[in-house]
């Protein structure tokens, strides 16, 4: 039974990590109406930048991390300026395809810049595990989980209660209407991209703390998808709940189904959940339902 509890709690913590990445999806989607398929790749770039600063250039963590966060902020702004801005006013499909193109492109660049070898990501957060009763927990995940909760609360308050947040929400609803109200659509979108770049690097630090990594780490972006969907792509608060639900569900599934299928359940089960969610409630638990007047 301790083992089941272990799966559940670890699942929940992993879920919170996915929630952090999913928040990046949601922030961009909410503001720019863009689903950023390339989010996973941005996580990887952030990770490699931290690795470069710390392991290659030997900077201490309190220099490397802020530098890397700054770099990912710039990367986000750069992508927005160069690639997303020319598409303002286009339809959704164009944005979807552009971020997919970006995904592929960045992967290529990462390979050329850093190669395919496994690198060892430095332990920015302390490695010592935390013991809670019979459970052994990854300290990084616990700290990360707490950070996720705090960040979610802040961003949720921002989007629903502040003037700037309302304006960004207006941009998410409809670019043209936002323009007609005097809102700078470009600025809102730029902010969204910058912020999610930062969040992605944070997620990378937590996720890869002290572990080996390659360019394939970007797959975490796709694993965070079901969480974003379960929450509904417009809901930040929902993302935390979604993360917990998906994380626990995956934990349970792995516990019960791994013996039957000889492993591998944890990587596919999030997608099974996603399909079920989409079938039952396409806009997610908290997302914006399509309000159509016929």
């Amino acid at each position: 039974m301790a083992s089941l509890l272990g799966y559940v709690v670890n699942g929940a913590l992993a879920g919170l990590l996915y929630a952090l990445i999913a928040m990046s999806f949601v922030i961009i989607y909410r503001s720019a109406r863009v689903f950023n398929f390339a989010q996973g790749e941005i996580v990887v770039v952030g990770a490699f930048v931290v690795w470069t600063f710390m392991s290659v250039l030997d900077f201490p963590w309190w220099v490397s991390v802020p530098l890397a966060l700054g770099a990912s902020l710039l990367l986000g702004l750069f992508i927005e300026r160069l690639i997303l801005r020319p598409l303002v006013g286009e339809e959704l499909f164009a944005f979807v395809m552009v971020t997919i193109g970006l995904l592929i492109f960045i992967r290529g660049v990462v390979l050329v810049a850093w190669g395919p070898e496994v690198r060892f990501f430095p332990a920015v957060l302390p490695l010592a595990a935390i013991k809670v009763g019979p459970l052994v927990l990854d300290r990084a995940l616990v700290l990360g989980g707490a950070a996720t909760l705090v960040l979610a609360a802040i961003t949720s308050w921002f989007f629903n209660r502040t003037q700037a947040g309302l304006e960004m929400t207006a941009v998410a609803e409809n670019h043209q209407i936002a323009l007609s109200l005097g809102i700078s659509v470009k600025r809102s979108i730029a902010i969204a991209w910058g912020v999610s770049g930062v969040l992605s690097t944070l997620a990378a630090i937590i996720f890869l703390n002290g572990k080996g990594m390659t360019f394939l780490a970007s797959d975490i972006g796709f694993a965070a998808l079901p969480v974003a969907l379960l929450a509904g792509l417009e809901s930040i608060g929902g993302v935390v709940l979604g993360g917990l639900i998906v994380g626990i569900a995956v934990g349970l599934a792995a516990y019960f189904l791994d013996p039957i299928f000889q492993g591998g359940v944890a990587s596919v089960f999030p997608f099974v959940i996603m399909v079920i969610i989409l079938l039952i409630r396409p806009s997610g638990l908290f997302g914006w339902k399509t309000i159509e007047r016929i």
Binding site: L103, L111, V112, L229, V268, F271, I294
Partner: protein, 351 residues
């Protein structure tokens, strides 16, 4: 399609015909001749490239029907192709069925699998449907690795003997080429047929506004499912051809990345027309081959680029092309070509 002066139709059949002028017949005949004589004109390498283009073409044309005509973004075409390939392989290896049976069956099995996602389209729209198809990819990979080894090979995959007609084995590139060519031509012609027919028009209506389509009496649910069914059928056939060409089927051959490449081909070629699918496939595949040739040379000249450069460069190329096309020419090369023709015709006027 604008036609030269003096060309008009007097019957419905004439109006719907693909080839309308003597000039077009000549071009068409020349193309056919070129394709049939390719083994004589080209080297072994050219045939290999042609085979891959032909197989990809079938899958991408099918994708065009689902995504370009019916507007259902499908990021799982590669998984559907995989279903077809595995069906073909499993039947060939375990039951020794001949290719002229396994190919249609692979098409059908993929079609059924695809239709399941069409069913999902009843509830799930647009972009969320695309995500569902992504899920299909992962579920497919997982399933293929866990299904009974005897039938599906699991991680080791399936090995096939060459397709055979009686005693005549299609075991060289050239022999398979003619099968691929025949299938590709038939399927492409079929695609044009679908596009110009009632289902084709229904697809376009569903794409443009499914509520309005429903209101004027089009059974949107039926047509969405049909779009996936047909598109996946094409993918299944392509998968079967692939199985006989490479003679080895394994889940890792059919990844999400491949599905993305297919969508990329549609974007470059132009969504919404069969010709767009053809153009996109040919252009991207040729560029890929170009990189495979040029890549190693560049790595020799610049060792810093590393051994993975060819793979990385292909990614950068495809990603860059998709981005560039979406920003600058979202309707693809076919649209650009049409504009060029139009400007040529009305020159020196600007519009």
């Amino acid at each position: 399609m604008t036609l030269p002066a003096g060309v008009h139709a007097e019957t419905y059949d004439q109006d719907r015909a693909l080839i309308r002028t003597p000039g077009q017949w000549i071009w068409f005949a020349a193309l056919l001749a070129g394709l049939l004589l390719l083994p004589l004109l080209g080297s072994g390498k050219a045939i290999g490239i042609a085979n891959v283009i032909g197989i990809t073409l079938v899958a991408v044309v099918g994708l065009q029907l689902t995504s370009g005509f019916a507007g259902q973004i499908n990021m799982g075409q590669s998984a559907f192709m995989g279903v077809g390939a595995y069906a073909c392989g499993a039947l060939a290896v375990n039951l020794q069925m001949p290719f002229w049976l396994t190919l249609p069956i692979s098409g059908i099995s993929a079609a059924v699998f695809g239709a399941v996602f069409g069913l999902a389209a009843l509830r799930i729209k647009g972009f969320y449907l695309a995500l569902t198809t992504i899920a299909a990819q992962y579920i497919f990979s997982f399933a293929m690795l866990k299904l009974p080894k005897a039938w599906f090979g699991q991680a080791e995959g399936l090995r096939l003997d060459a397709a055979a007609l009686g005693g005549y084995a299609l075991d060289t590139d050239v022999r398979i080429y003619y099968l691929v060519l025949l299938v590709a031509v038939v399927m492409t012609y079929g695609a044009w047929g679908v596009a110009r027919s009632r289902p084709g028009r229904a697809f376009v209506a569903v794409r443009d506004n499914d509520n309005a389509a429903e209101v004027i009496g089009i059974n949107v649910f039926y047509y969405k499912t049909l779009a996936f069914f047909i598109g996946a059928f094409y993918a299944g056939i392509a998968g079967g051809l692939w199985a006989y060409y490479v003679r080895y089927v394994q889940a890792d051959q059919f990844t999400l990345w491949l599905s993305v490449w297919y969508i990329g081909m549609l974007i470059v070629g132009g969504m919404g027309s069969v010709l767009g699918a053809i153009v996109g496939t040919v252009v991207i595949r040729l560029l890929q081959d170009l990189i495979t040739v040029v890549g190693p040379e560049m790595v020799e000249a610049f060792p810093r680029l590393g051994g993975q450069f060819v793979f990385a460069a292909m990614n950068m190329l495809l990603g860059g092309m998709i981005i560039a096309f979406v920003i600058f020419e979202p309707r693809g090369l076919v649209h650009r070509w049409n504009i060029l023709k139009e400007s040529y015709r009305i020159w020196p006027f600007p519009h």
